[in-house]
Symmetry: C2
Subunit: 557 residues, 2 copies
């Protein structure tokens, strides 16, 4: 069998290695239009920021070493121009000498990845506007960053997604004043606002300027500097701009040869990673696949799933229909200065788009035993189905052990897990690693309290809506007096939870009452006391003052 692979980075290289291990006499040709194969795409921002010092480390394999180990014909700087499905051939251009030729295949794998979105705006072709998808992009940015670095150099990142923010950190690290411009109401749109707000504040604390709800309109040049222009009128002079708006599946070859393209714009594949042509498989950023939670196809642009798909495709290319792919719930993470931000599954925006009703829990658990030194609370947001308890998605932000919580929830999500499964997880516990109740268990327990009617939640946004309307609410801050004095919500009274059984005499049990504490735990205890003492309309504020302080509008004192 002769296998032709288009694209030699994540998916293509993995598939080739696996193919050869399955079938030693397989003939494998890899076409890669770039100069490199199998390189560390996700490491590029860290090479720019000098965290990775040695450029060689970015290359997992060279074309020669890979070719030797897997007895594969690796042709870099060879671009596939078209696919002739009827004759099972590809037309290729050797970019070294400009010559075109044909190559036949028995079975083809499409792994051309994604292309960065570059909007056709005025000035888009000016120098020092970069995208970051591959090694040449990276080399250009690095060259500019090092060779032309001046005192007070400025960089503008357009798009505050995971990679945009990784770039913000890394460019600041090497001396740039960084501004992030984001069209949406907040950065990191995979996260909901209460979580993204923590990152946004951290960026500002670190000296990165964050501008939201602001769209790029074009570029000009002024006094030798690039100037980024926006719909809000402000112009941002800078030494370089990074376009990090997003990517789209590189479907040109697939479209040209008539392969079926799906509703979200990726190449359509079945569970065996096979396209609408039996002899052509596709993996990685170029495909779309149904989301395990919604059942709707989407493109996810993540390295982990691309690798998993490549392994599955290789097996099916040799033994058709032998292994099925189960889809990705979109689990992603990034380091942003001292914080980690991670998410899995659906956020509120997705849930609203899908018309799914959901409930939300926000907690601020310690990353390990509170008495063990060095920990600061993390922040978790859980979205779930309040009827069935099914997990829809989760997000977490914090300094330590954030990844572990999201990995656990991601695994449950893949298996259609519920908040009850979260409560029933079992984790490796010792004081340096966790608490007897893990953050995952704890978030599940709060969700269960809501589902079982043990607690009636109110979100910060909901409370603010009532306060904006001037609705009469009995606000009860159940923290200690010293905490109350540092700031509270609107005209809240202070009734510390441990004295509540006496102090509640002064409260009106008929009035709409919202209790809150710092994080929600004492609020829950207070809720239970009042609820069982005849208070009729009572709510516990989800996320407590810790969340209110960040995103609430009626902070006092």
């Amino acid at each position: 069998m002769k296998y032709v692979i288009i694209g030699g980075v994540a998916g293509g290289a993995s598939a080739a290695a696996r193919l050869k291990r399955i079938q030693e006499d397989a003939e494998i040709v890899i076409f890669e239009k770039g100069e490199y194969i199998s390189y560390a795409n996700c490491g590029l921002p860290y090479y720019i920021g000098n965290t990775i010092e040695d450029r060689k480390k970015l290359f997992v394999q060279t074309p020669v070493s890979f070719g030797n180990r897997y007895d594969a014909d690796v042709r870099t700087l060879n671009e596939v121009l078209s696919i002739d499905r009827a004759n099972k051939t590809v037309k290729v251009k050797n970019l070294r000498n400009g010559k075109e030729y044909e190559e036949s295949y028995d079975c083809l794998l499409l792994s051309p990845g994604a292309l960065p979105i570059v909007p056709p705006l005025p000035g888009i072709d000016l120098p020092h506007i970069y995208t970051l998808r591959n090694v040449p992009d990276c080399d250009m940015i690095k060259q500019r960053a090092i060779e032309q670095l001046r005192d007070g150099a400025a960089a503008v990142i357009i798009g505050g997604g995971f990679i945009g923010l990784e770039m913000a950190e890394n460019l600041q690290r090497i001396g740039y004043q960084v501004t992030v411009i984001e069209k949406a109401p907040h950065v990191l749109t995979p996260l909901d606002y209460p979580m993204a707000a923590i990152i946004q504040k951290h960026l500002q604390d670190k000296g990165v300027k964050v501008v939201t709800e602001t769209a790029l309109t074009g570029f000009t040049e002024k006094d030798g500097l690039l100037e980024v222009q926006t719909d809000k009128g402000g112009a941002y002079p800078c030494d370089m701009a990074i376009l990090s708006i997003g990517v789209r599946p590189n479907t040109q070859l697939a479209r040209d040869c008539g392969l079926e393209i799906g509703e979200s714009g990726g190449v359509k594949v079945d569970a065996y990673m096979r396209t609408s042509d039996e002899a052509i498989y596709a993996v990685g950023d170029v495909i779309e696949f149904p989301h395990p939670v919604t059942g709707k196809p989407y493109c996810n642009f993540l390295a982990g799933p691309a690798n998993a798909q490549a392994r599955i495709a290789a097996m099916n290319m040799v033994y058709p229909e032998s292994v099925r792919y189960s889809g990705s719930v979109t689990t992603a993470i990034a380091k942003i200065f001292e914080l980690t931000a991670a998410s899995t599954g659906l956020n509120e925006r997705h849930l609203k788009q899908q018309g799914l009703s959901y409930q939300t829990v926000i907690t601020h658990p310690a990353p390990f035993a509170t008495y063990y030194p060095g920990g600061e609370p993390m922040h978790i947001k859980l979205n779930f189905n309040p009827e069935t308890g099914r997990i829809y998605g989760a997000q977490a932000v914090g300094k330590l052990n954030v990844d572990k919580q999201i990995d656990t929830i991601s695994l449950l999500l893949k298996h259609e897990g519920t908040i009850f499964d979260m409560i029933n997880t079992e984790h490796a516990y010792a004081p340096p690693y966790g608490s007897a109740k893990s953050p995952v268990m704890f978030a599940g327990m709060v969700a269960e309290n809501i589902m079982s009617g043990m607690m009636n939640p109110i979100q910060v946004e909901e409370l603010d809506e009532l306060l904006d309307k001037g609705e009469e609410i009995q606000l009860v801050d159940v923290r200690e007096i010293q905490e109350y004095k540092t700031g509270t919500i609107a005209d809240a009274e202070n009734c510390p939870v441990d004295e509540l059984r006496e102090l509640m005499e002064d409260l009106d049990p008929e009035k709409k009452t919202v209790v809150f504490c710092e994080v929600g735990m004492r609020g829950y205890v207070a809720y239970r006391i009042l609820k069982q003492s005849g208070f009729t309309q009572i709510y516990n504020l989800i996320g407590g003052m810790k969340t209110y302080r960040l995103i609430g509008k009626h902070n006092r004192g």
Copy 2:
């Protein structure tokens, strides 16, 4: 309803808090024979080692604060002497004044924990022999450790389990020369030897003396020092000895009142945490419960499950048979100097005891992207059913991200997961947190290669058995020549994998052949090349040289 709770530490205090939140008018009496409730049991070694400096941090709640918040009657220094099930009363002794009295209950919770095993050996009552279960134990050790610390002070830990090794680290930290004496062939018996050997070497590198296959026979006093005596004849003079041999469920009260005791010696409970008496529930170290993998009851002595059980018991005490407990797969972890050791499920000893046939995979994956700085390989051992792929257990040792892998496998274990589920996990990946293929996925892939016949494994112990017998084996070291020169196995020849397609001419395809590399990956590639080139009896060494170097007997050079 009047609830009486016996034991106010982990399980008892959690259950009381939950009870009150469910039922504000519940009358709750907690009897605790010690002075403290709800304290940080697992933090005690770290308080001794000064990692936790402030003793107050050990106390999550005081009897007064807890009583106020949950409107509970907390009676510390009150010991329950007996339970009268017919009349639903307990006889209690107030240890402050010696007076005895009776207290009635509607529903009782037993949470008396476990007792350290103290063998009746000669000299066991000498001073400076300690166990570590509670705050007074801890205070005594701390007092001895600080007040009588002299230059060259020595401590002997008897028992090299998780807590014994935590104590070894913490006592060394404050100035002791520490010796660990372990009866078994290696420390950390929840781990199999290839993993425990890494910890043992680390302890020795850190200056802790480790003596295995040696049993305690008694104590004497000599020149003002304590002397620990063993069956191997050596005597170990020391300033203090810590007995860390194990614990047993504290079932005295349960036995005396005729509650059913199970086959492994714990109080028998049903899935609702109810004992053989409908009005008595039990949680924590005192109970036994069926293991989800074997179905056999056992006692697990872990804080996480105790907390989970308490929450479930409280619910069922108010609403009988409302929540079921699903059991614990025994997931445990400890920090041992710079390393983390963790395990979940069954080890080889358990598997042999249960007569289960299993296969084993050992891998040495990086904790995150290899090109991201600061990582050192971890070590994972996976035991699984080679017929069905069901996971039996896993162990991991390393510096970073060990807990995360074990948490994921623990969750799969609880859901009867397989190695295929391991491959299909989805984790939060960015270079500082992981690799596109996680260690969990990678171990699953190696296991799948074995199950599917893609690779025929040989364990270090199996290879050594063949070499000991003098069996003729073609040993092929497929690493680079520079690696080969640093040391190999017996009379292995060197055939670097990337040249193997040429060099294999010199090998005999009919001979029993074992290939190996540093960790097993190149070995696998070499295996596939040789296998598909007509070699008939070929094996890949599991764990490669990294494991062989630690536990193999025929190291050369």
